[in-house]
Amino acid sequence: MSAGVLFDAPGPATAARHRIYTIVSLIAVAGMVGYVIWRLYDTEQLTYEKWEPFLTPKYVRALLVEGLLKTLQMAATAVVLAVAVGGLLGVGKLSDHGWVRWPCWAFVEFFRAVPVLLLMIFSWFLIGIEWSGASYWGVVTALALYNGAVLAEVFRAGVLAVPKGQSEAAYAVGMRKSQVMNIVLLPQAVKIMLPAILSQCVVVLKDTALGYAILAPGLTEVGKRIFREFGNHVPTMIVIAFLYIIVNLILTWIATWVQKKFVGEKKVLEVSMTAGLDTGRAV
């Protein structure tokens, strides 16, 4: 139901009332924005010294290379591993053999229910907190396991969404089970799953920020260094949040584009506890 159905096309009296509402709410919104800006000004957060680091090439480079690039690298590694884990588990959950299906099911249920931060701290301790690379791989391991478990459901739903006639036809021409899965079902399922996988990337990217808890490199770490040095906590947090938001919006935009291009008007693949494009997405 579109929002347009919830109320009539306004008549003259209602249109006048709506104009008043619009003016009042415009003033209220402008007032709120104005108050925030005044508050920033009043507490001297808008001075040049506080924002100077973000105009200094040295710090901008640190922010983009050691921060953003490292974060993206961490997220990309985790996504690749998560897709691998998810593919294996998803196909495993569809297996005809109970001894394959049940462990996969248990693995998926366990890692979907455990908070990713708990997993992150555990992998960090497990890899060994003395080693300097432990925090990086702690983040990657935790994200790969958690999102792998989530993607397993996506894979399973994707394979099940392929029309039944496809596998029946494949069996009819004499293909083996693994051939049906690899040659017929998975290639078609990937097309259906692509938007869901891409919007899961937003979740992975947001969760890389959790690496802060285990001293991982990335945007939050560079941000911490900058505000420790300059005492400019407010501008730093704004800049870091801005960088995350921009990358996430680009990812969302790509996911929507892929959705339109490859899946078309068909319904988006919906799996509980995952990222749907416009419903309870990317928690």
């Binding site: 929002a3 919104v29 708990l118 947001k206 802060y212 906590h233």
Partner: protein, 227 residues
């Protein structure tokens, strides 16, 4: 595992913090999310845009960044939660707790808003038309007819959002609330040899909590289902 059993009291109080964080932010996020969805589907374009901007900005910001903001940046703007100071047994609700509840609520409310909006979209067209035909105003259409049905239709996505909130409370452990994650970290530090047992113990409690939540949600869904 012995480390957990020997400190079972501390672990219990840690989970009490987790559950309290979840309950407070759960209720607040539902209220704020309902308010946001009312703005988003309402007739005033300015408010639609404002709510949409808020949702886009907050939902694309990592939760940790929001908590960091309230921890480090907000005090510089004069926003503090020092007035909160409740001690109850081993549960201490201080400014850290307040900041965590506010951040979790602000963050989760955007997802509640989106879940409810999908619910509003699933209410059949005829319902709103019929409500308007008998002369209900926008407020009446929403509160009497559309939102009650939207709430029912959005139980499954809302449950996912609240389960995610329960798991997200662990982030508060990084910022001074002595909840499950913070306790697990301390125990793992003190008993490095038992890290696997400690992790499994905490993880299993979370699995149980999540299962309880999803059981309640499926009960609620079955009970409230529109015939």
């Amino acid at each position: 595992m012995e480390a957990v059993l020997d400190n079972i009291g501390l672990v219990g109080w840690a989970f009490a913090h987790t559950v309290l964080l979840f309950l407070f932010s759960g209720v607040l996020s539902l209220l704020l999310g309902t308010f946001l969805v009312a703005l988003r589907v309402g007739p005033v374009v300015v408010l639609q845009r404002a709510a949409a901007t808020y949702v886009t900005v907050v939902r694309n910001t990592p939760l940790l960044i929001i908590l960091m903001f309230f921890q480090f940046a907000a005090p510089k703007l004069g926003v503090t939660f020092n007035f909160i100071d409740v001690q109850w047994g081993e549960v201490s609700m201080t400014s850290f707790f307040g900041a965590a509840v506010v951040s979790l609520s602000l963050y989760t409310s955007t997802f509640v808003c989106e879940a409810l909006r999908s619910g509003v979209n699933s209410v059949p067209l005829g319902q709103a038309e019929a409500a308007r035909a008998i002369g209900l105003s926008f407020g009446g259409v929403m509160s009497q007819v559309v939102l009650p049905q939207a709430y029912r239709a959005s139980v499954p996505p809302l449950a996912s959002v609240q389960i995610a909130l329960l798991k997200n409370t662990t982030v508060a452990g990084v910022f001074g609330v002595m909840e499950a994650l913070a306790r697990m970290r301390i125990l793992t530090n003190n008993f490095t040899g038992q890290k696997i047992g400690i992790f499994l113990a905490f993880a299993i409690v979370f699995v149980v909590l999540v299962e309880v939540l999803s059981f309640l949600a499926s009960r609620l869904e079955r009970r409230w289902r529109i015939a």
